[in-house]
Structure formats: structure tokens, C-alpha cells
């Protein structure tokens, strides 16, 4: 299974917020799975999750997303900064998880609503956030602005360096 999930690309510091890194797993058939990168702040320092909600505004819940047919009609079309869900931790910190790519929302992970610990324990498999189908023409270009695994690791290591610099 893993061989078909090729590039794990990352969007670091989503919306300028340090270390709110998202990881996108793209299958060879262009389908993308949005997950938290293991460096995401939520996953650090032993945080526990109080609440996850897909109700991102008064009028919009990602849970209402209904697709039908082969062409996945009806799926909400997302842009890069479209919010997917909001996570509240027991220490009252709040995090918004974003789409990171343009495409049609196919499904959001309802398992993490029932079992939030999945998100903490298996962020890159069973704790995934959402599945998005990019447009056929855009399937290769959507990942252009994102970091490859190597680039991302470099960014992360530079972060640690900066953080350990005496202020």
C-alpha cells in the first residue's frame, strides 16, 4: 500500500503559525490524504484533545459534505486555506487544520470524532483528517508549492537550530 502513496509533502508553518505543519500524502492516482505532520504543535508536549469539530462556521460543516457518483458531484470545493476542522486541547489551545491544496472534498475522518486519540497516536494513518480529489489538470501542480520530504526535514532541523540560539 505504501508504495503507491508516494510523495509525502509538507506545508510548514501553515498560515504563518510556527510548526503547524500539515502533511499531504498523494497517491499515484492523484487522490490526496491530508494529515498532521509529526512535528505539528498539537502532537507535541503530551497534549490531550478535548474536542474536534468539523463545524467550521455557522453555515458550514464538513460533515455535511456529500459526494455522489464517479465524478464525486456535490463535494465541497476547497482552496488552499479552506479550514477543515478545529481542534481544542485540554490546555485550551486551539488549532485549525487547513486543506493545503485545491480540490474537491471527498470525505473527512469521522473516526477521530469518536476516538480523538487516533489523531495523536496515528496521525499519518488512521488519524488522517480528510481526503481530497484535485482537478485532473492540477493534480501535478498542486504540490509544487509544498516541500518534499528532504526539504521539510531541512526546514525542521533549521528550526531547532534557531530555537536553540541564545536570544
Amino acid at each position: 500500500m505504501r508504495r503507491q502513496l508516494s510523495t509525502a509533502i509538507t506545508h510548514d508553518d501553515m498560515k504563518g503559525k510556527q510548526s503547524e505543519d500539515h502533511c499531504i500524502l498523494q497517491h499515484s492516482n492523484r487522490i490526496c490524504v491530508i494529515t498532521l505532520a509529526e512535528t505539528h504543535t498539537v502532537l507535541q508536549n503530551g497534549r490531550a484533545i478535548k474536542n474536534i469539530t468539523y463545524q467550521i462556521s455557522n453555515g458550514c460543516s464538513r460533515l455535511n459534505n456529500k459526494v455522489s457518483g464517479k465524478s464525486k458531484r456535490g463535494g465541497q470545493f476547497l482552496t488552499d486555506f479552506a479550514p477543515l476542522c478545529r481542534i481544542t486541547c485540554t490546555d485550551d489551545t486551539e488549532y485549525t487544520i487547513y486543506s493545503c491544496i485545491r480540490g474537491r472534498l471527498l470525505e473527512v475522518n469521522e473516526n477521530i470524532l469518536e476516538t480523538p486519540s487516533l489523531l495523536l497516536e496515528k496521525p499519518s494513518t488512521e488519524g488522517y483528517i480528510a481526503i481530497i480529489l484535485p482537478k485532473f489538470e492540477e493534480s501535478k501542480s498542486i504540490t509544487e508549492n509544498l516541500l518534499t520530504r528532504e526539504d521539510f526535514e531541512r526546514v525542521v532541523s533549521e528550526r531547532s537550530v534557531t530555537q536553540s540560539q541564545p536570544s
Binding site: M1, N29, I31, V33, S68, K72, N111, T125, E126, L133
Partner: protein
């Protein structure tokens, strides 16, 4: 002797004047004796003229209008030496002279029942058949005529009907012999003769098609598009198509009065004859079935092409089709099977049932011995696949094969990897699980081309065989349509329950084999 009656006289006269050929006149007189049409055109015309002379003497002049017309228009024509009333005769002679002097193309059949149904045409058709080198016992002749023939037919019908409404002729439109039928009466025997006595029948597995076109009068149909627009809806990619079916439908709808407003009665005289296009030969499809094994983990079932580029060499269907196509000398094939396996999955055991439709086979009867030989050829051509029970089946049998896709069970063996180390005892409980129901969301790997849905599938039973602390073999017997790979690795938790949950560890599937496809079709052929 033509089977004509006195009541036919006015019809014969009117149609002859209008420019119809002898055979079309016979058609309108409802002559249903095939032999009458097989006479030469010249003889038929002469007999018609004799008929008119004989009956003309018994009749008064046709009517005031026609006599006037006769007087005005026959100036140029010199009547031949004859004792008959000059008016009518002269007009008839006019038509005859035209026919003799130069090609006078029939306004009804546009030449199809004139020079296009003679021995040379039969020779032409027979040559095309011989060239095709088909194996056949009988043939059926099919003829395609330009749609405007229907329009012209209607016009002549009205021409004839109008004048004799009062004279209760027993004629009804359905009694008029169709051009197609007359053509076949003439041609079938001629073609049979050229092919050394082959029976030309009404229904056969081998079809010889002749098509006539007449661009000069294609516009005859166009008025129907404005009078009956709903018969001629233009489809997405094409312009309005004046197909025969659409034209017939429109003519059924249009009233006589409206028709006469838009189309001349009698129809205009064409200057050219129809052209006949290349003769097409088609043999009905032959269906070949069997079961195939796949021993290779890098062979797709169908050709794998992306953007015109071949991604993987060959395919199951191509390896099977190549020798079969040449054995039956077919031009193409349609391959289908009772389910499919992935590129990296082997098919073992008795194999998977498949059936191929062979399109336009030039050979259709192969003996049991020849089929065995063909099977051997396939098996020797590659070690990636093997075929058994190869046989010719009927078209209906195809549905038996597709049955297997939905209802029947399948058995598999998977090589499973576990992240945490395991012992034999850790997996023993799996053997006791019976009829485990799974909820499988559409796997990510096919989600781009299939609808998002949840499918319930049953795993009837499983067996395990320990290999080492991180590997074991898993045997499964499942309902058709179960995604095995997703059951093993969980597909992001979208298949539940799954092996990861059962063993409480990350698992993945390294290899998969199909052990059996439990469909008892096609019938086994003993080796």
C-alpha cells in the same frame, strides 16, 4: 407474360410518363412474382408497352387535362408508324426514345433496379466475397438504400393515387413491392450463381452488405426537417442525420396535403444513377471461453496505456487473444472475465473464467482438436499465463460468466507483514473466525474512478500459516467483491474490521494470490 390487369393500365401509363423504369412500374402494380423482375429491362418495357396498346384500345382517353397536355408537349416527338391514337402513343414513345437514346434514370429507384442489378453487379459482389476469404455455408444479402427513395416513393404514390381516387383501385400502399425486395429477387440468384451455388438466404451468420448512395438527390429529404423537426434532432457531435429510419418516421407523420406542398409530384428526374459503395462482408461474432491462470506479478489484465504511452509490456488479454485471433482470422476482439485481479496478483488453481467475442471471424468452425491445438499454442507462447477449457460458446453463455462476479465466492492467499513481532499462538484465533462482515469504504487506490460508498462484504473463513516473527500466510475464503488488500492493511481505517485491529499492530500485505474463482463455468474439457 406479366401478371397485369386492366385496372393497372392508368398506373402504368402515368408512371411511364413520369419517368419510372419498367421494374418500378411492376412494383406499383403490386406484381409479386419474382420471375417477372428477372426478365431483362428491355423485355419488361416491351411487355408493358404491349400491355398498354392492348388495353389502351379498350379505354377512352384518360381525361381532359391529360389530353391537353399531350397535345401541347408532344410536338417534338414524331410518332412511329402506328395505327393507334397518336396522342397517347406519342407521349409513351417519348419516354421510350429517351430510354433508348441515353441513360434515363428512373425517378423512383434512381437506377438501382435498372443497370445496378445486373450480372456485372453480381460479379462485383461475388468478387468481393471471394476476396474476403471467409468460411461460410450460406449468406444473407443486405441492401442499404438512400433515404430519399422513400420520399420519391411517396410522391409517385400520390401521383398515382390522386388521379384514381374515385376508381377504387384495390391498391394500398403496403401492397406496393419495396425496391429492396425487388432488388433481392433479382440479385440473390445471380450472386448465388457467381459463387458456385452458395445459398443466399434470409438469415445467415454471414452478411454481405451493398450500399447505394445518390448525393444528387440527398436534398430531397431536407424539407422533412422543417415539417417534422422532432424526428431529426441533431446529436451532440453530428449534424442533423437524415437516416432512413428518421425519414420513414417523418413520412408517416406528414399528411399528404402537406407533403405535396413541399415536394414535387411526380418527383424530379435525376441526371445520374446511384453509386454503389464498396461491398462489406461481415460474419457474426464467435465467442470463445476458457479459464486463465496468471503466474506473473507484473502483468495487467488489459493493456496499460497512459497518454498514448504503454506503461507495462503486454497483458493477459493480448497474450490470449493473439493466437485466437489468428486461428479464427478475426479482425478484433472484446475480452471479458468473471472479475479481475490486480497487476501484482497471481491467479492460481483452476483459473479465472473468461470469454472473448471475436469480431468478424473469417473462420467460425474449429473442431475440438483444433481448439486443443489453439490452447496449446497459447500456453507455449508465454510462461506468464496458461489457459484451459478453451471452447466455443454461445453469446448467451456470456451472462453465465458474469454471474460469478456478483454471487460466487473466491479464495485467496496473502503474505502478511506485521510491525510487531508475533508468535504462532498470536494468530491461531484467526482460523476460528467465521463469516466476518466487513464495512469497506471505497479503497483510496480506486477512489478516483469509482463512487464513494460503503460496501458490506463477508469473509467466510480464514487459515493462517506462521512464517517468521514478522510474516505469516493468510488464506481467505470471501464473498465476491471483497477488497483483500484493504482488509489486511486497513486503508487508513476505512475498512473495518481489519487485520491491524485484529492483531493490534500495523500490518501490510506483501503478496496476494487468487487460489480459486468458484464459478463452475465454462464446462471443463478433459485433457
Amino acid at each position: 407474360m406479366l401478371p397485369l390487369k386492366e385496372k393497372d393500365t392508368p398506373i402504368v401509363r402515368k408512371l411511364l410518363t413520369a419517368g419510372c423504369c419498367a421494374r418500378c412500374i411492376l412494383r406499383f402494380c403490386c406484381v409479386s412474382v419474382p420471375a417477372s423482375y428477372r426478365q431483362s429491362q428491355k423485355d419488361t418495357l416491351e411487355e408493358l408497352q404491349t400491355f398498354l396498346r392492348d388495353t389502351g384500345n379498350n379505354q377512352d382517353s384518360a381525361g381532359p387535362e391529360s389530353t391537353d397536355k399531350d397535345n401541347k408537349s408532344h410536338d417534338a416527338a414524331e410518332s412511329e408508324a402506328s395505327e393507334d391514337p397518336p396522342n397517347k402513343k406519342a407521349k409513351l414513345e417519348l419516354s421510350v426514345t429517351d430510354a433508348a437514346a441515353g441513360p434515363c434514370v428512373c425517378v423512383l429507384c434512381l437506377g438501382i433496379l435498372q443497370d445496378l442489378c445486373d450480372v456485372s453487379q453480381a460479379v462485383r459482389i461475388a468478387d468481393a466475397v471471394k476476396k474476403g476469404n471467409y468460411e461460410f455455408d450460406t449468406l444473407v444479402l443486405s441492401v442499404s438504400l438512400p433515404a430519399q427513395l422513400c420520399v420519391r416513393e411517396r410522391s409517385c404514390w400520390l401521383h398515382v393515387k390522386n388521379e384514381f381516387r374515385e376508381k377504387s383501385t384495390v391498391l394500398s400502399r403496403d401492397d406496393v413491392i419495396q425496391v429492396k425486395e425487388a432488388f433481392k429477387w433479382i440479385m440473390q440468384g445471380l450472386i448465388a450463381k457467381e459463387l458456385g451455388g452458395i445459398a443466399v438466404v434470409a438469415k445467415s451468420a454471414f452478411e454481405v452488405s451493398v450500399e447505394f448512395t445518390h448525393p444528387e438527390t440527398d436534398s430531397n429529404c431536407h424539407f422533412l426537417a422543417s415539417t417534422c423537426p422532432d424526428c431529426f434532432k441533431p446529436t451532440k457531435n453530428k449534424q442533423v442525420a437524415f437516416t432512413r429510419m428518421a425519414v420513414v418516421k417523418a413520412l408517416d407523420k406528414i399528411s399528404d396535403a402537406k407533403f405535396l406542398k413541399h415536394f414535387s409530384c411526380p418527383p424530379s428526374r435525376p441526371s445520374t444513377s446511384c453509386t454503389s459503395r464498396d461491398v462489406q462482408c461481415l460474419h457474426v461474432s464467435v465467442f470463445v471461453a476458457g479459464r486463465y491462470n496468471k503466474f506473473c506479478r507484473s502483468l495487467p489484465q488489459t493493456p496499460w496505456v497512459i497518454d498514448g504511452e504503454r506503461k507495462m509490456e503486454s497483458s493477459v488479454e493480448e497474450l490470449i487473444a493473439a493466437p485466437v485471433l489468428s486461428g479464427f482470422r478475426a479482425s478484433g476482439f472484446n475480452f471479458s472475465s468473471s472479475g479481475r485481479e490486480d497487476v501484482d496478483v497471481r491467479t492460481l488453481g483452476n483459473g479465472r473464467p473468461f470469454a472473448m467475442e471475436l469480431v468478424n471471424p473469417h473462420r467460425s468452425h474449429l473442431s475440438g482438436e483444433e481448439m486443443k491445438q489453439l490452447q496449446q499454442t497459447i500456453n507455449e507462447s508465454s510462461d506468464k499465463i496458461k489457459v484451459r477449457d478453451l471452447q466455443i460458446v454461445s453469446r448467451e453463455a456470456m451472462s453465465r460468466m458474469k454471474e460469478g462476479e456478483e454471487d460466487k465466492t473466491k479464495s485467496y492467499t496473502a503474505l502478511v507483514w506485521t510491525q510487531k513481532p508475533i508468535q504462532k499462538d498470536d494468530i491461531a484465533f484467526i482460523d476460528n473466525i467465521k463469516d466476518l462482515t466487513l464495512d469497506q469504504k471505497t479503497p483510496l487506490r480506486v477512489l478516483h474512478r469509482r463512487a464513494l460508498a460503503v460496501r458490506q462484504r463477508v469473509i467466510h473463513s480464514m487459515t493462517t500459516r506462521f512464517l517468521d516473527p514478522h510474516h505469516f500466510y493468510l488464506g481467505l475464503k470471501t464473498q465476491a467483491g471483497t477488497y483483500i488488500k484493504e482488509f489486511v492493511h486497513g486503508d487508513f481505517g476505512r475498512t473495518k474490521p481489519n487485520m491491524c485491529e485484529l492483531l493490534k499492530t500495523d500490518t501490510d500485505i506483501l503478496e496476494l494470490d487468487v487460489e480459486s474463482v468458484d464459478v463452475d463455468w465454462p464446462p471443463a474439457i478433459p485433457e
